[in-house]
């Protein structure tokens, strides 16, 4: 057996710690803690601990206290804990099991059996942890691959629109920054960093419906006729319908964001947007965020038919309502964010 692994022995009685250390010293590195608080410190420190032998009755933070802390931090899933006990009542031991302990070590220790039990469980946990790591890496790889496919699809659509693919990347970055700003400023729009990340990734598909718009309209250099504009507006619904047909191409937890953003990123706060004429917070906040990012990027980017507007001009046009009406809280967050960017560049 390798001596790469480390066991943490937690007991307020030095004699018990020394005996356990003697039993395991040939096969493991040994760490010792004489109370619960020190054990928690070591568990949260830089040590790579493979198992904990934990006394239940100790002054200060007792064994159950250490278990509670390990459960809270999630360490109990990866590190097996053996409870050391002389005669604790069934209720205490059951609580220990409920908190995640794997086994009970009774005093006096029976060295031979104890060695085998601890070795077996450490080996089992080692395999389980390795497997969990492999699965986690594979999921990350699959998610990355999936996101790449989605970005390829979004970029392909953009190429039809004579864009380079940079637009979707900028929208994704701006969506992340603005959603974070809005979430930090307004509790009613709070989202975790993980959700913000999903929204940002979902935003790249906002114009996927343009794949259904004929070239003569999509790439027309001049102003669209009212009829052509009506067809162009359909890209929101077409994109939504497209995603509805392929729910498996997007991770389940981001699917709702992608569909909402596709359909609602041209809705406006005053109800004058399209396709459904939603008003105010009937429009999901993630679609509102993408909508303002989309408008700003369209104004500040160069197109074959127009020069780019400056940040100040674009901001003025958005605030004046020249591109439709937006949520005032969103505008406030957007102005603050973009001014910060400008001042830092």
């Amino acid at each position: 057996m390798d001596k790469e692994k480390t066991i943490l022995i937690v007991d307020d009685m030095e004699i018990n710690r020394i005996i356990l250390a003697e039993i395991f010293k040939d096969n493991y590195n040994i760490l010792q803690a004489c109370n619960g608080d020190r054990a928690i410190e070591m568990l949260n420190g830089a040590y790579d601990i493979s198992a904990v032998l934990l006394d239940l009755v100790m002054p200060g933070t007792d064994g159950l206290g250490v278990l509670r802390d390990m459960k809270k931090s999630g360490k109990i899933v990866a590190i097996p804990v053996f409870l050391i006990t002389a005669e604790e009542d069934e209720k205490t031991l059951m609580e220990g099991y409920h908190l995640g302990a794997v086994d009970i070590i009774r005093k006096p220790f029976m060295s031979h059996f104890l060695k085998h039990r601890v070795n077996n469980i450490i080996e089992l946990y080692g395999h389980r942890n390795d497997l969990a790591k492999v699965v986690e890496e594979q999921i990350a790889r699959l998610n990355h691959l999936n996101q790449s496919m989605i970005e390829i699809l979004a970029t392909a659509v953009e190429f039809r629109d004579c864009e380079s693919g940079e637009h979707v990347k900028r929208i994704s970055g701006m969506t992340k920054a603005l959603m974070t700003e809005v979430s930090n400023r307004y509790p009613e729009y709070y989202m975790t960093a993980d959700e913000v990340d999903k929204i940002s990734k979902s935003s790249v598909l906002h114009d996927v419906g343009k794949i259904s718009i004929p070239d003569r309209i999509l790439t027309k250099p001049g102003r669209l006729t009212p009829e052509e504009y009506e067809i162009m507006k359909l890209h929101t619904v077409k994109g939504y319908d497209f995603l509805m047909q392929f729910p498996d191409i997007i991770d389940e937890s981001t699917y709702k964001y992608s569909c909402d953003i596709c359909r609602y990123h041209h809705e406006r706060w005053d109800g004058k947007g399209y396709p459904d004429g939603l008003k105010g917070d009937e429009i999901p906040i993630w679609a509102q965020v993408v909508s303002i990012a989309d408008v700003y990027d369209a104004l500040t980017a160069e197109r074959v038919y127009k020069k780019p507007f400056s940040h100040e001009k674009a901001l003025e046009m958005i605030k004046n309502g020249e591109c439709g009406t937006f949520n005032p809280k969103l505008l406030e967050a957007f102005e603050s964010l973009t001014n910060n960017w400008k001042n830092n560049n």
Partner: protein, 117 residues
């Protein structure tokens, strides 16, 4: 070894204790010394408060654990009874067991100290 023979005569299961340490007799001797110091510092006497004895219970519990691990059988068995009686709220009976066990305990401690010095 005289210490081990004397302890065996007092009912200590020396072989079991040494085996628990993988046959390391020197370590066992060292731990016996630590045991003697610990048990003296705990100083549990039969005149403890019958209304408030949670601290005594904890100390008795600790002695039981280390006596068991060193296979000091008479002390281990005595304190097993004491802890059980204290946990069942029977301090009077626990005191009787303590009175009975203290002379045996003192004999074992004296034996350890005499031989280690």
């Amino acid at each position: 070894m005289k210490l081990f023979d004397d302890l065996k005569a007092l009912g200590v299961n020396v072989n079991d204790g040494v085996n628990r340490l993988g046959g390391n007799e020197n370590l066992y001797k060292r731990l016996l010394g630590t045991f003697a110091k610990t048990i003296k510092s705990y100083d549990i006497q039969p005149d403890f408060d019958e209304e408030n004895y949670s601290e005594i219970t904890e100390k008795a519990h600790a002695i039981k654990g280390i006596a068991g691990n060193l296979s000091i059988t008479p002390i281990y068995e005595g304190y097993t009874q004491i802890v059980s009686l204290l946990r069942s709220s029977e301090p009077m009976h626990a005191k009787e067991v303590l009175k009975r066990i203290l002379p045996i305990q003192n004999g074992i401690i004296e034996c350890i100290e005499k031989n280690l010095n």
